[in-house]
Amino acid sequence: MAVTDERTHLRGSGITVGVPVPPSPRRGRRFRSGRRERPNWIAGVASIVWLIFVIVPIYVIVRNSVQSRDAYIEGGPLSPPNELTLEKFEQVLSGGFWTYLINTVIVTVATVALTVGLALPAAYAIVRSRSRLVGSMFRVFLLGLAIPAQACIIPIYLIIIEMNLYDSLTAIVLPTVAFGLPLAVLVLTTVLRDVPRELYESMTLDGAGAARLLWNLAIPMSRAGLVTISIYSALGAWNSFLFPLILTQSEDLRVLTVGLYDFRTQYGIDVPALMAAVLLSALPIFVAYLFARRWLIAGMAGLGGK
């Protein structure tokens, strides 16, 4: 068995041997730094195919946002970038874009703050509390992971009307938070479970109560998880479409997603203007991604480096 395996193992490097080669200590160390030391060609080719699929729509957005409508009709969505113009961005920016942006920022910030502020103590209680109530509530949250927000839109609409919140930004925030909580709690619970029990004990011996253990131990140890759920809930709020579509109607409360949807009716066949609007709506998130991706990857490296 070992013989055949070793032969397969070395085939990619052009060497075929019939005897098992014991790994030298040095080689063993190399495995530690990188999981695979031999390039995986099949995966490489497949990843290029996937890259093309992912990149074409993105190219279409970027390319067409900087050309005129006539050039688009002539050249189609994949034309090479020759004639460049910024007129479409001016057109979009002068059409209510700033209001939509501010509304979206408000909704996103409120959603992230509420999600983290509620999920963290909940996950802490789930991992550390001995209360039976908490255990059963955790199961409720797990089931909540599967509650379909779309199927609940009618009762949410009714509840929001009954609370006199219809047509307000709060109406968008509250259900968005509620439906984001299960995943946030789950992620934080998983992260907090890996905090060694001994650390809680030794800090308690130093006189720390439950709140200080959360602040000085659990939060620092779960920073990666906190960043992850912040990013998820921010994206969820920024990109949410159905809640704002159903729960608001005034134009001055419109968020970017609903704004885009209206742009299509407004601009019709003016694809470059539509693409400029799409690009502008994603730009803040893209900038945040450039900044936060380091955090996300560092967080995951922290998790995986144990």
Binding site: S47, A122, L143, A146, P148
Partner: protein, 301 residues
């Protein structure tokens, strides 16, 4: 303390149950309560503005005779199955691949995650442009894949497949991210031991990576199945259920009844059915995978 179990034998300070209450209240009011209300509304007649009238089982008996429900349910199931079958293997492989520390993988996965940054509305609008039979990419590519007129989105047979492709583009990055994070948590020593035992890459994948990703596969599948069973924003923006009723999935049919014909009571019946279906499915998946006993994969190592 002598009677304490091994689990609780320490004297560490612990939070009490109240810590979970704020989250539970928020979740209960805006996600839990709607589940009950939707069932309640399914026994009523309501136009969205006026008063809500109790009409007993009328909506339910009407639903049983409504042939569109059966068609829509079939389309929804088809969409869900296609979504799962296409997205799960792709995002699992991509996630495991992206978990590697090589520089090229880091750069490419940064690009692969780009669709995560776009909203449903943006993605649907862009794909709507691409699939436009007159000016879009579909007009150019169509002739090579059996659509001389480029009208993939306007043909009954292929419209649903177009939606599946759009949803894959949109959601595979999210599931890839889940798998990437989980793969990176697999202890390196398992692979080191496997290499010493002479396991090759394929064997490592099936014997170590796949079993270690079990919890993630369950999570991802629950999100994917329940998600695609109830998701309709893309349909709303790209096809509006058409052509004909070819992409009229059940949740979109519910949306039409609720917010276009203002039959909130009847739409609630459809919604209640969707909720029951989704909950039942996720309960089945969770039960059969022992997920509620979820533990840290690192425990005991």
């Amino acid at each position: 303390m002598a009677a304490a179990t091994a689990e609780g034998a320490d004297r560490a300070s612990r939070p009490n149950g109240l810590w979970i209450l704020p989250a539970a209240l928020m979740f209960g009011l805006f996600a839990g309560l709607p589940l009950l209300v939707v069932v309640g509304l399914s026994f009523t007649s309501w136009d969205g503005i006026g008063s809500i009238e109790f009409i007993g089982l009328d909506n339910w008996s009407r639903a049983i005779r409504d042939e569109q429900i059966y068609d829509s349910l079939w389309i929804s199931v088809l969409l869900t199955v296609l979504t799962w079958v296409i997205q799960t293997p792709l995002s699992l492989l991509l996630g495991v691949w992206a978990a590697g520390r090589q520089r090229n993988r880091a750069v490419l996965s940064a690009i692969f995650f780009l669709p995560l940054l776009l909203s449903t509305a943006a993605i649907a609008l862009v794909w709507g442009v691409l699939l436009d039979p007159n000016f879009g990419l579909a007009a150019k590519v169509g002739p090579y894949i059996g659509f001389p007129d480029g009208n993939m989105i306007g043909s009954t047979n292929s419209a649903l497949l177009c939606i599946v492709v759009v949803l894959s583009w949109q959601f595979i990055p999210f599931h890839t991210l889940l798998y990437q994070a989980a793969t990176r948590q697999i202890p390196q020593m398992l692979y080191d031991a496997a290499v010493i035992d002479g396991a090759n890459r394929v064997q490592q994948f099936f014997r170590i990576t796949l079993p270690q990703l079990r919890n993630t596969i369950v999570t991802s599948s629950v999100l994917m199945i329940v998600g695609s069973l109830t998701y309709f924003e893309t349909v709303l923006i790209i096809t509006r259920g058409g052509p004909g009723d070819a992409t009229n999935v059940l949740p979109y049919y519910m949306y039409q009844r609720a917010f276009q014909s203002y039959e909130m009571g009847y739409a609630s019946t459809l919604a209640a059915f969707l909720v029951l279906l989704g909950t039942a499915l996720s309960l089945i998946i969770v039960r059969f995978s022992g997920y509620s006993k979820m533990r840290s994969t690192l425990e005991g190592m």
